[in-house]
Symmetry: C2
Subunit: 148 residues, 2 copies
């Protein structure tokens, strides 16, 4: 009779060693923490900064576009926008299609981005160090298919 127990153990060992999701999620926590720590004095998190930057680039941002660009669920974005709206960083702009709740940066949002840039630089520098050349290249390669 085969030893089912150690067979399972071996497979579990393989998951522990090889699982891509484990490493991706771990690195995501570490990297997010670096940026959030740097941004904390400004009262903004990197998740929000991402959306603000996207809005700045799009000028007039449609949620659907931001969701596609960032691969975000629309319900997630909806609630993030709520928070940023209440902080005065973005404002809703009614458009032609009454279904879309397009939005854009307010001047307060723009000022926030400006003030956040130095902190972003510092975090970016630390993240670079942490990932190393290999990690950075791999990240770009892997994320490449989701550009713009």
């Amino acid at each position: 009779m085969p030893d089912k127990s150690s067979n399972l153990d071996a497979k579990i060992d393989r998951v522990a060693r090889e699982c891509i999701a484990v490493r991706m999620r771990l690195l995501n926590r570490v990297i997010t923490n670096i940026y959030d720590t740097a941004l904390r004095p400004l009262g903004v998190k990197v998740s929000q900064l991402n959306v603000l930057v996207a809005a700045a680039k799009l000028q007039l941002a449609r949620p659907q576009d931001v969701c596609r660009i960032l691969q975000l669920d629309s319900s997630t974005l909806s609630r993030n926008l709520e928070r940023m709206k209440s902080r005065g960083w973005i404002q809703i702009v009614p458009g032609a299609d009454a279904r879309t709740q397009s939005f854009r940066l307010t001047s307060a949002g723009r000022r926030l981005l400006e003030r956040a840039l130095p902190a972003w630089e510092r975090a970016q520098g630390r993240a670079c160090e942490l990932l190393g050349e290999n990690g950075l290249g791999g990240l770009s390669a892997a994320a490449g298919s989701f550009n713009t």
Copy 2:
């Protein structure tokens, strides 16, 4: 007088193009979604699977160790354990130090892992494809410093 406005735009453009956190977080969402979708029929998410696998490997797992290994905040783990305990996948094991709430897989937890392995294999395959050789290598390189 320098054109402050476009200078800011250029910097924002740089954040949009280069920000490591944006890409890491985007990839994390995509990869997590692949595993969660594959695991959905089993009623477990990859975040929980990670902890169950760690518990399986440690045999008797101390929360502090799991937090260190996965770079998780202890409050996060505390609540995740609560959910997995209520599902009967883990059980608390009182130990020498009354502060530590060590835990281990129950047999139900072990059976869950066994049933989840094929779904994990499928998700792992798709994640490999998505990241490509470069992405996989970079991920390993970057996560290397956090091994075990």
